[in-house]
């Protein structure tokens, strides 16, 4: 077994709404990320994956739960300790135009983390910026370009260079390609894979795009309304999804191969919101396999073998879902 880089234990984040309502954005999620792997995190928009990612890099304070990074509890780090943690843990955002300050040049943007962390002299920082530009496939003359002068792909490369600047080992990638043109997505994904190999990075790759997640991940976590419903190695998950929600999700992917057939599962029921959810399984109102017990208690995660975990009563009670 490889070394665990990060353990997320029962992480909870609720957002208050008017009239005593609460959005259960993240409602007790638990999973591990091994050093050097890419963990994909999928789910529809609003399932809490972005909140989870933000909480993991300590941009949002969780209400409960723990984050264990290489054995150290980082949930409540502050001040200088948090600052030094930020060197090891970075984040890449979805929209490069919105995450890059429009009034700074590429060089200034990439140099900023180096300046904040007093990384070195001006000369060394300039040298490092050039090195980073090259690493993400940009030419040195881009150093003086502003975000509005560059296309989305190049801007995202700047975002990646900025995240790499301090030499982190773990990067949360929050939908890093979904704002980009399809033609550019593959380039960026390959760049990220390439960088991972060269710099032995660990990724938490958040996306709603299953094809992208399948392409880049070693393992996948499926989230639904603030909870994890299934975790499995990528191949196992896509070959043999156990949770009804995962099955529905996968059935929506268009299949490129001719001759293969898969019936599409159309979900019925109200489009749910994570506001004040009831006690049962989050999915039971839309689940075509639900039994009365599903509305009464939340199913626990059970191991279906080979690192394939699922939270569904039909699996835990031994019924195999076909």
């Amino acid at each position: 077994m490889t070394e665990q880089l990060l353990e997320v234990v029962d992480l909870v984040k609720h957002f208050p709404l008017p009239r005593n309502q609460r959005v259960h954005a993240v409602d007790g999620i638990t999973f591990n990320i091994a050093a050097g792997e890419t963990l994909g995190m999928v789910g529809e928009s609003g399932c809490g994956k972005t909140t989870a990612g933000r909480a993991i890099v300590r941009l949002i304070e969780p209400d409960r739960g723990r984050l264990i990074y290489r054995g150290q509890d980082i949930t409540h780090l502050a001040g200088a300790e948090l600052l030094s943690m930020r060197r090891r843990m970075q984040i890449i955002f979805q929209d490069p135009y919105s995450s890059l300050d429009p009034r700074k040049s590429a060089g200034q943007l990439i140099a900023e983390p180096l300046l904040i962390h007093r990384w070195g002299t001006r000369g060394r920082i300039r040298e490092r910026v050039r090195e980073l530009l090259e690493q993400v496939g940009l030419t040195p003359d881009m150093v003086s370009k502003y975000p509005h002068e560059l296309d989305g792909g190049r801007c995202q490369r700047i975002g990646i260079a900025r995240a790499l600047a301090l030499g982190p080992e773990f990067i949360v990638c929050d939908e890093p390609v979904s704002a980009l043109d399809v033609s550019i997505q593959a380039q960026i994904l390959n760049l990220m894979k390439d960088l991972q190999e060269r710099l032995s990075l660990t990724y938490l790759f958040i996306s709603h795009n299953l094809a992208v997640v399948k392409h880049i991940s070693d393992r996948v976590v499926v989230m639904y309304l603030g909870v994890v419903v299934e975790t499995a190695p990528t191949e196992a998950l896509f070959e043999d999804p156990l949770h009804p929600y995962t099955q529905a999700l996968l059935s929506a992917i268009p299949i490129p191969a001719v001759g293969e057939r898969r019936s599409r599962i159309i979900l019925s029921g109200d489009v749910p919101t994570p506001v004040n959810p009831g006690p049962g399984c989050r999915f039971h109102k839309r689940c075509w396999l639900a039994s009365p017990v599903c509305g009464e208690a939340a199913p626990k995660m059970v191991d279906a073998g080979g690192g394939h975990l699922v939270a569904c009563f039909r699996v835990s009670e031994g019924a195999v879902i076909q």
Partner: protein, 273 residues
């Protein structure tokens, strides 16, 4: 890009030209008026414009043109200082109120509401009443009345900027609040501040001149345009030139800043009305 659009705006260019001329006049005052502007010449009181005194002489026989030239220094400095002090304090409060939510923001904005409950000129008069008449106190008073305008505008802009992902990105890098506020939020709210400041100089010039006119601002023998024109009041029908010329220059300067401000507003910040 900015300059190309600016050059096409004839009004803004005209405003800039007027302001530049008056600034040059203030800078080169000793060259343009190489004599003691406070020297009284009681034998030549209230003389109409002539070759020797193009704008005539005032009630103490002083050369009005010379005093206007030097007065440009006082008036410009006072107007710019009001905007600078009010702008810096107001923008800082607005940045803090916009960046931090919760009680800090609420406390600052309630304080601004109280200031705004005073009609601004009455507030200025009240402050001068407390501090005593004088140019410096008039500048302080007008600065205070400017603070809430900046605080409001900057706060609402800062609240918009704050929601950008770039702020989260900066926090993820480990940037301190101070760095985020000054390095990321401030540069992105500069446009409304610049527009507000330009128009603000115009109204500050009028306000300080008005206080001078009421006797609450600059005190004799300072060459300040508002005070100068009030000194001619008793002879308004007999010697209108004493009042006319200083006022004309106030109009020109205010017009210049209004023209420039309108132009900048169109170019920099079309959302501001």
């Amino acid at each position: 890009m900015f300059w190309r659009r600016f050059k096409r705006d004839r009004n803004a260019v005209a405003g800039l030209v007027i302001i530049t001329l008056i600034v040059l006049m203030a800078v080169f005052a000793p060259v343009l008026a190489p004599f003691d502007i406070n020297a009284q010449d009681l034998a030549h009181r209230r003389e109409a414009p002539s070759k020797a005194h193009p704008f005539g002489t005032d009630i103490f026989g002083r050369d009005i043109l010379g005093r206007i030239v030097y007065g440009a220094r006082t008036t410009l400095l006072a107007g710019v200082l009001c905007v600078l002090v009010g702008g810096v304090v107001g923008s800082a409060l607005g940045l803090v109120a916009g960046y931090y939510e919760g009680w800090v923001s609420a406390a600052i904005m309630r304080a601004m509401d109280v200031l705004l409950a005073f009609p601004y000129f009455l507030l200025a008069i009240l402050i001068v009443a407390v501090l005593g008449p004088g140019l410096v106190n008039a500048v302080i008073a007008v600065s205070v009345t400017n603070v809430p305008n900046y605080a409001r505008v900057v706060r609402s802009s800062a609240m918009v900027v704050k929601r950008h992902e770039m702020i989260e990105a900066a926090r993820a890098m480990g940037a301190s609040d101070a760095r985020i506020i000054f390095d990321h939020v401030l540069p992105n709210v500069l446009a409304p501040i610049i527009v507000l400041s330009t128009v603000g100089v115009a109204s500050a010039v009028i306000s300080t001149a008005a206080l001078g006119f009421l006797g609450l601002g600059a005190q004799p023998p300072t060459a300040e345009w508002g005070l100068m024109l009030s000194e001619g009041r008793s002879y308004i029908t007999a010697s209108p030139h004493i009042t006319f010329f200083p006022g004309l220059f106030i109009v020109l300067l205010v017009l210049g800043f209004n023209l420039l401000g309108d132009g900048l507003r169109d170019i920099l910040d079309p959302r501001l009305k």
